[in-house]
Symmetry: C3
Subunit: 346 residues, 3 copies
């Protein structure tokens, strides 16, 4: 494990990221900071207008911002049409995630029928099962369990304590955070109602999970293997923590989901969708491209038009809420009294 | 670890599962597939009427279906009153979960005061604590941690990276998926309001968890130990992923919960209930047998009548939603204006 | 590992916890029980009035209760103004969590650049990364992964299979339950809309996580590292299982959250708040001290007044629910028909 000391000159950053510099090209930055917290050796950024007032007092040595925000600011500036995007790219220079020499840690357990590229790293106390392959530049962190018949693409990284159960295929540069479980059995049950004591029979889950290039999968997120065919994430799908993706779900490229979303089985979600935190999506639906679902909404029918969708009620003080909520039970009666038919649309 | 190559003749399947065969008893199947994806060497099934149209084009070699659906279908058919159930049973033949020779992997850490049956398998990097017992045919997968005073019944299987903290007793044939945590402390707090700075005092959690025969517990699901007595799951309880079962909860036999359900402390749930995804059930309630709760509903009172229950509002485009949702705050005023009393029922 | 046999005389308990004893000081108790389940050698308690009726039949040897509840009860009693709090303190005597001799288990993997106090315990198959420190009396249970640059304060305990990814600093006496992940990357994405195929760019997550003294963090709970500065939990914050705390969140001292709560990024929550199960709190908000949010409510705006807040609709049988829920879509039209303006407040 090696760490880099990092230091960059403003002029070099401008050139490297194709940004205009307004100020001293010799300005040196050694890290990043918020406008409120950064010091003279730090790079900061202004993207959200609500923080514009902090420009007056920031001690940041170098700030990435839009040209119009830079008017009247006396410090050194990198001008960017999209400052958050430019900051994301520059900040990667300061990401000191430790690098590891390739190889297999002596405490790791690698099945003789697994194939690990010599340019991959298998960390301490990790476990690789039979029939699995780990490509060059992949990183299997401490305590990960990779089961049978999995493929880890080049440059993919299981941070630590990730589980790939069986038949999970990750593309290239996939990043999986700790506690994530991919390829566990989907929740498939048949009910034996004819038995003396009726009971559930498990439906074998025989499919796998496919994860496209450049996906990111959050901590403690679960993606079940398909019942027969695979559960599929397209490229560049971004999943936050504690998301549940049930069996046979298909998620289109570039779709992002915030924490705690639950997607039920066999639903197909399009490309460039954005699903808000703790939203739920029922099973066997089709959601088209470019759909936005707001936080904690429940999607119970297919969506065929791009746009933003919501359910739920607004937050109130509980006393007011109780007074109003009890009336929800009378809503139909109320509407009838006012003479509205259930078919009328607002 | 050994894998079986599997191949079955239609006539043998008909006999073994007591189904009528319509077609060629010599038809050979080597795997399963969906109607749309199966080839001539695959078994498929038709249960959901919405897929009936796929019969016209399926290449499946053998299809399990109801007699009435088979009319006019020219291929080989296994007739079943409940095709999904029959398929579940047959498909188990194709489940190539690797088998392990019994024994304890050299990298596992087994406390000298634990008792492991010679016919059990303890996988790599697993850990078994003092006072725990593992019965014949049980499987403790890679990276599992079994703490103190646990019992793993015959044929039960912790897939990988499961944690049983303390005093967890699993019956026979229990299946626990990766990341599940059973027997962590319940969330018990007493508030010391008399202190100079009022603060929380932890209430010791001294009970355990009992899990009945044939239960299945999903990935990253958590079941806390009881405060004094045990948290209890009856036989054949089926829990999907990311479910939270708080301390002292009791769940009756054959109840199934979809992903992300949360059940608060000391609630009792009956037999044959079905709880939809991400539903919440408040604490100290009693839910009778055969209750269905729809997805994302919140149960805040005991339920004494079998049936289906819901809360929430329908999904709308966000513009319409905002226009209507703001009116929820006026609902009581509205009802008063129309002359409805809060006691009126629809 | 050693276990204690525990036995206490009522008179000694009264003295030790400064409670009045009504009854036999020689009464011996060896464990705890519920009023319904306790035997003559067990200590029980009565705090919730709904269990008062069980006093008539309890076999408990010794009961902690309020003076007014003790009237007419013939058994041995410890009188307490707050019986639940008194019980919490006494019951800790019966908590037989096994103790470990300090030291590093031979199967643990400790980086040469980590510093472990000789009075700490590192359990089997745990992993401690470079630059991390473990203080005296700390306990790193089986299968835990502590990454780089973490600090574990004196007396803190990672029960088992906990992951601290990077730059996580735990205060003293912090208790973290299995499956919890602290310090994973926050969900920071910038959208490159100018690319030929527009796509997400990861915003490096460079901050850490700070956890104050006496916090408790539930099983499978996730707390992300800050993007630039730290995600912060004040002292005595109590988090139940499966909670998601996003990057840059700040939670004030003594705040408690029930299971499955989700808090989005950069939100600040005050002191002494209580957040109900599965509630959601949107990002970039400020919640003042002493706010209570009821279960499954969604907080979408900042809260500046202490008090209780709710959203959602009541549970109904699904038939009634459907009849009323469909009318929610007409709510604005309904209100207009009745002549209410959207600005009117109830």
């Amino acid at each position: 494990m090696a760490r880099r000391a990092v230091q960059f000159r403003a002029g070099d950053l401008a050139e490297r990221f194709d940004l205009a510099l307004r100020g001293d090209p010799g300005r040196v930055v050694e890290g990043v900071g918020t406008l409120a917290g950064a010091g003279p050796a730090s790079l900061s950024f202004l993207a959200n207008p609500r923080y514009r007032g902090q420009l007056a007092t920031t001690a940041a040595g170098l700030v990435v911002m839009r040209e119009r925000d830079a008017e009247g600011y006396a410090g050194d500036v990198l001008l960017a049409a999209d400052p958050y995007l430019a900051f994301a790219r520059i900040a990667a220079l300061f990401d000191q995630t430790p690098a590891h020499e390739p190889g297999i840690h002596p405490t790791a357990v690698v099945d003789p029928d697994a194939v690990v590229d010599p340019a991959a790293w298998i960390g301490p106390l990790a476990c690789i099962g039979a029939g699995s392959t780990v490509a060059a530049g992949a990183w299997i962190g401490p305590g990960c369990v990779v089961g049978e018949d999995c493929e880890i693409g080049a440059g993919s990284r299981l941070v630590a304590r990730v589980t790939l159960v069986r038949r999970v295929r990750l593309g290239r540069r996939v990043l999986v955070h700790p506690g994530a479980v991919l390829g566990a059995d989907g929740f498939g049950l048949a009910f034996d109602r004819a038995a003396a004591e009726p009971h559930w029979i498990k439906v074998p889950q025989l499919g796998g999970v496919q994860v496209g290039d450049d996906c990111e999968i959050g901590a403690n997120t679960t993606i079940d293997r398909g019942a027969i065919e695979d559960t599929v994430l397209g490229p560049d799908v971004r999943l936050d923590n504690q998301i549940q993706i049930a069996h046979n779900v298909r998620v289109g490229a570039h779709t992002a989901m915030a924490g705690c979303v639950a997607v039920a089985g066999s639903t197909t979600i399009g490309r460039y969708c954005m699903i808000g935190g703790a939203a739920g999506i029922a099973g066997h639906l089709e959601i088209c491209d470019r759909v936005v679902v707001t936080a904690m909404s429940l999607v119970t029918h297919s969506i065929r038009e791009p746009g933003e969708y919501s359910s739920g009620t607004p937050l109130m003080d509980s006393r007011s809420w109780r007074r109003n909520a009890v009336r929800f039970k009378q809503l139909d009666a109320l509407a009838r009294r006012v003479g509205t038919s259930p078919k009328d649309t607002g």
